[in-house]
């Protein structure tokens, strides 16, 4: 049952193209920056930058969910979020192993991104042409979603393993089962924002701030995971960074709720019009 969607054509403060460019550039450059700093200094202390880079992918993905699901996909919001991270997992596994095969582990982020975008576009075409969703932005939306999901998984995987090598990520992220929390918490970071703000008076800035807030929670989770795989200092730093991101964006979100809600009251009966 579709419940009160209707964000299609709703005014968006931020242009989709800008969000896409910032999302892609932010996540790719962020992961590479973290990798270069880790490699040059010979430590794993900069792994948290990977988790911050993942947030750019999350914002891009959350905006894509908002655009696609604004066409009245109410109960489909969770499904499309899971689809995004599902495509992301496949793309990351593909990108890492292909880059490893050619002996250029550092290229894995680019290979993952290209593969994810092609994959997302193909799934979008199938959804529109074969399953006949007939949503105009479906192809574009799923391309963004796959890229956002893949970058989120890549960023948080780097944050846990501190390396872009295929063997390290298999050891630290997949064999330990930490991929499960990246998948589900990252998925929630992409799908929860629009799902939690569903309704006719949904606002883009509130939705995206919610996405970063949940991304902060994911960073806390990867920080906890990192105690097993990184040095304690790097893990603790990541935990603190995650908490700061979460706290800042949660308070921001609450301010936006107070701005947008009909009324925020301490207690009280129903509004006078409804009694």
């Amino acid at each position: 049952m579709t419940v009160g969607g209707g964000a299609a054509g709703a005014p968006a403060a931020f242009d989709v193209k800008k969000i896409r460019i910032y999302g892609l550039a932010g996540s790719v450059l962020g992961i590479y920056l973290a990798w270069i700093l880790n490699t040059v200094t010979g430590t794993d202390i900069f792994s948290f930058i990977g988790a911050v880079a993942a947030l750019f992918g999350v914002v891009m993905g959350a905006n894509a969910v908002r655009r696609v699901c604004g066409y009245g996909i109410g109960t489909g919001v969770p499904s499309i979020g899971m689809l995004s991270l599902g495509m992301g997992v496949v793309a990351v596994a593909f990108g890492l192993s292909v880059a490893d095969q050619f002996g250029m582990g550092a290229l894995s982020v680019i290979v993952t991104l290209v593969y994810a975008m092609i994959f997302g576009y193909v799934v979008g075409v199938i959804a529109n042409k074969v399953i006949k969703f007939n949503i105009p932005v479906m192809e574009e939306g799923l391309t963004d979603l796959a890229a956002g999901g893949a970058m989120a998984i890549m960023g948080w995987s780097f944050a846990i393993s501190g390396s872009l090598a295929f063997a390290d990520i298999v050891n630290d992220v997949i064999n330990t089962g930490y991929i499960a929390i990246i998948f589900i918490c990252g998925g929630l970071a992409i799908l929860h924002p629009f799902n939690a703000n569903l309704g006719p008076d949904e606002k883009q800035d509130r939705t995206l701030v919610n996405g970063v807030m949940v991304g902060g929670l994911s960073t806390i989770a990867t920080g906890i995971c990192a105690f097993l795989t990184l040095t304690p200092a790097a893990a603790l730093l990541q935990l603190v960074v995650g908490f700061v991101i979460w706290y800042y964006f949660f308070m921001w979100y609450y301010r936006l709720v107070k701005r947008d809600a009909s009324a925020v009251v301490g207690t009280g009966l129903l509004p006078p019009s409804a009694l």
Partner: protein
């Protein structure tokens, strides 16, 4: 089969029963899952309310998140710091409950703020006293689920080959799916539409016309927990507990490698017996209470 394994399987069944019950009550307090669409619609058809609106991605993904969060914390503490299992799992469940509190609050705030034009207010007292009840139930659910995965991976022989977080993810999805399919009707069908005769179905005209007023004052989500804890929660617990117990029982009694056919046969036998019992139950309910008032015959799809 040995006595210890059978005892462990029984313990897993008991833990699963508790987890199923608390999972269903948690989702009922927050009006999550299927009944959520009615709570969401209520304001839109002119019925603003004081009921919690915890829209977190449906029950299976959200419970998968709580259980996986608890699992990573427990796994990290056990493997990296050699902490005692019970302590680690309890701490993991606490972190999961905190995560749940954040997500629940953000969903309540967001959904109600997005219904500005329907005059749906955000009540902070509801957030203050309902969120802790939800978190408490999530604590119980994730504690039980992670204990089950701990038994599977570290205690029960043969040890499960998957890592703890992945098994917790799968169990979380399962308990959410069972809670969604078994428990929801007792909240949605019987509680939200309490003044309708049960069994007549819900026509589109009635969408959003939920019960908003209690015996005294306005109904809130704690009232719903009180109602659902009587039958919906225990029924869900029974559903999930039986699933876990019977499934593990057949692979404990029969060796899954050397007696694979017997184990599969027992599973098929359980499925057939349950289907026959369901069929009997529906027939007997229709015979005793039907035809339902307002029933106009099946509508051609």
């Amino acid at each position: 089969m040995d006595a210890l394994s059978m005892g462990l399987v029984a313990a897993m069944g008991a833990l699963a029963t508790v987890a199923g019950a608390s999972e269903d009550i948690d989702s009922d307090i927050g009006s999550q899952s299927n009944p959520n669409s009615q709570v969401q619609l209520a304001a839109q058809v002119g019925n603003p309310h004081r009921i919690y609106n915890k829209a977190i991605a449906g029950e299976p993904p959200s419970n998968a998140l709580w259980c996986t969060t608890a699992a990573i914390v427990a796994y990290m503490l056990i493997e990296a710091f050699q902490m005692p299992a019970l302590f680690s799992i309890a701490l993991g469940a606490s972190v999961a409950a905190l995560f749940d509190g954040v997500m629940s609050m953000s969903a309540y705030f967001g959904r109600n703020a997005s219904q500005k034009r329907f005059n749906q207010w955000v009540y902070l007292d509801i957030v203050r006293y309902t969120t802790p009840s939800i978190m408490a139930h999530v604590w119980i659910t994730s504690f039980c689920i992670v204990t089950i995965t701990y038994i599977q991976v570290y205690v029960l022989t043969p040890h499960h080959p998957f890592p703890i977080p992945v098994i917790a993810l799968i169990w979380g999805l399962t308990v959410g799916a069972i809670g969604s399919s078994v428990g929801d009707i007792h909240y949605g069908g019987e509680r939200e539409f309490q003044w309708r005769l049960f069994g007549q179905g819900l026509s589109t005209m009635l969408s959003g016309q939920i019960v908003r007023k209690a015996e005294a004052g306005l109904r809130n989500s704690i009232d719903n927990a009180w109602f659902c804890a009587k039958f919906g929660g225990p029924a869900t617990g029974m559903g999930f507990g039986l699933t876990v117990f019977l499934d593990n029982w057949r692979t404990t009694v029969f060796d899954p490698v050397s007696q694979a056919l017997l184990a599969i046969g027992t599973g098929v036998f359980f499925v057939i017996v349950m289907n026959l019992y369901n069929f009997y139950l529906e027939r007997s309910a229709r015979r005793k209470y039907g035809p339902y008032p307002g029933y106009k015959g099946d509508i051609a799809a």
